[in-house]
Symmetry: C2
Subunit: 354 residues, 2 copies
């Protein structure tokens, strides 16, 4: 008779349904945390102290896919974590607050007007400044509020990460540095208009593969004491991160802003060297000719990507990457129920319209 290893026994107590209940707790925690912050800052009896807190709250209330908390909670439960451990609830809330920080700052970097169907923080406060006729420049005021609201979301994220065990804290530190440096390389490559599919893929791996998938999964597993799952999560995250980014690029190029809650077509209009475009450039000279011109026609580019088969190719590439991700998990010491769930999540994050 063989004995069942402890971690396999433990995984049986949880399932994707347990995870979904845990994610409801995460939502409650985020709102509860914001309520505590409001209470603490109301005590100072200074008006407007709640404005940056509310800016963060409004972004969270506007929706969002909550992909990172889902991966974090999944990584924790499949590693045998106890579903009622408050540390995983806080950590999952922390990754979502961190994402709020990233989005608010990114929207300044990209000058995006809309996010989750509502005006971005910097747009909203620039408009308020202009309509109130305040002193100084409206753009600087709006962007200043967004910088500070983002900074505050970051503090909230870190406060929620206070009780992480040491291995998980290292993952948390890596995740944050990677996200910021990945974003810097992205901004720099866009400015230089670097045509380099390898660099575009590295950016996708950093920003989507690691930040969105590998690190949240590993953060959860690290809380449950299973750092050994890192290689499998990395392989899954790297493959899926590229697929995730390609889907983002396709949505921006061919999706509708009704579905996304943010403008589409921005990458083409702003001549962004996306992974999609980097692949297209290598494949077809007409694409290269079009995008190396000073001005280009985004409609023509869309049509060309369809005509040359690039779009269909990218769809096939996404399928292959999803398969690769699923195979990585299949080989890992993970319970069947979670293998199935991670396959289903791989499909979901790469087959979305927003």
């Amino acid at each position: 008779m063989t004995t069942t290893p402890a971690h396999e026994l433990k995984t049986r107590i949880s399932s994707p349904e347990t995870r979904d209940r845990l994610l409801l707790e995460v939502e409650k925690r985020m709102h509860g945390f914001l309520a505590q912050q409001r209470e603490r800052w109301s005590a100072d009896k200074v008006s407007d102290t709640l404005v940056p807190i509310d800016a963060v709250a409004e972004l969270l209330d506007a929706g969002g896919k909550r992909i990172r908390p889902a991966f974090c909670a999944t990584g924790f439960l499949l590693a045998g974590g106890e579903p009622d451990d408050p540390v995983i609830v806080d950590a999952s809330a922390a990754v979502e607050f961190l994402h709020a920080f990233a989005l608010i700052h990114d929207d300044v970097l990209d000058d995006s007007p809309l996010r989750r169907g509502t005006p971005t923080v910097h747009t909203k406060y620039a408009a308020l400044h202009a309509s109130a006729g305040w002193r100084g420049e409206s753009r600087r005021f709006g962007e200043g509020v967004a910088i500070l609201a983002g900074d505050l979301a970051y503090v909230f994220a870190d406060s929620l990460a206070a009780d992480l065990p040491p291995a998980a804290r290292q993952v948390w530190d890596e995740l944050r540095a990677e996200m910021i440096i990945g974003q810097f390389i992205d901004v720099k490559a866009a400015a230089e208009f670097t045509v380099d599919p390898d660099l575009a893929r590295w950016i996708a791996v950093c920003k989507s593969g690691r930040y969105t998938i590998h690190r949240p999964l590993l953060l959860g597993a690290a809380i449950a004491g299973r750092m050994d799952l890192s290689p499998a999560f990395e392989e899954y995250g790297v493959a899926l991160g590229e697929a995730f980014q390609l889907r983002d690029d396709l949505i921006d190029g061919f999706g509708t802003s009704t579905a996304t809650g943010k403008p589409t077509g921005l990458d083409f209009d702003r001549h962004k060297m996306t992974l999609l475009l980097a692949l297209a450039l290598r494949r077809d000279d007409r694409v290269r000719e079009l995008v190396t011109q000073e001005e280009w026609d985004s409609e023509l580019l869309s049509a060309l990507l369809i005509e040359t088969g690039v779009r269909a190719d990218v769809e096939r590439r996404i399928e292959r990457l999803v398969e690769q991700a699923c195979e990585a998990i299949d080989r890992a010491p993970v319970d069947e129920i979670w293998k199935t769930e991670l396959s289903s999540m791989a499909f979901q994050v790469t087959h979305r319209d927003r």
Copy 2:
């Protein structure tokens, strides 16, 4: 025979000289930490990953008064902490990295061209973008790099704060939220041109009293397990914070940029409602008349502040606040050698020309 309490015995092993040696370790730690980060990111073999790390390093290398690490290390040693505890070295380095983050973002908010005698991050990278003829807007690129470099300094600060004990971590969280919300209220009051000495004083208490003095002292003491010192540090910090801010305002109004390494006269030129100006407005109708005009003459304002005796008054107010701060520490359960040192630090931070 009375027995000496344990914490008094422990304080005897350290002195301001011990603190100065500890602060040398803090400098080493900051550079060592940056070297580790450079090594980690060089491994990715992607060019430019070191750019945001170097932006943070350049600001640290350009100097700075290191006031916050000094208060942090002082709070720790006077509370009886062991001088060779690595946690205090990391925590003192963390407050300085946090300050680098605050400065880089503040310089975007204020559009300041110079900091510590060198161009600010956003100015430098906007100029690089313009001279290289890259795509997009130079201002957005420069400010984007500064936002991300600041964010990265913030992550570094947190990585260094990883081993804080729970009480110290709470101080760390409070310190960060206060600094950001204080900064927001400052930006908002400047835009609205709010004439309210009480609000100006609250901002000074938040940004200087707590962020610069009270919280760093308490962070150090909390690491040594002496949260009981909080009320004395708070009284010291609040009084000194106001004095610190008044000195800042005087330096900006009457100092030279050769000494400060940043432009002076900016507050007056930008019609900023400083604590100095808020006090002056209440005291003299000619000041009020001058500054409520659409355009004003900064030279005339300087002359008026001297003629009406506001400047001399503010100098006297600084003296009274320093006395108040010293009295608060005098009543606290602190060793004589540290009482003397904190009095001397109170004098130093309020009698500086930069």
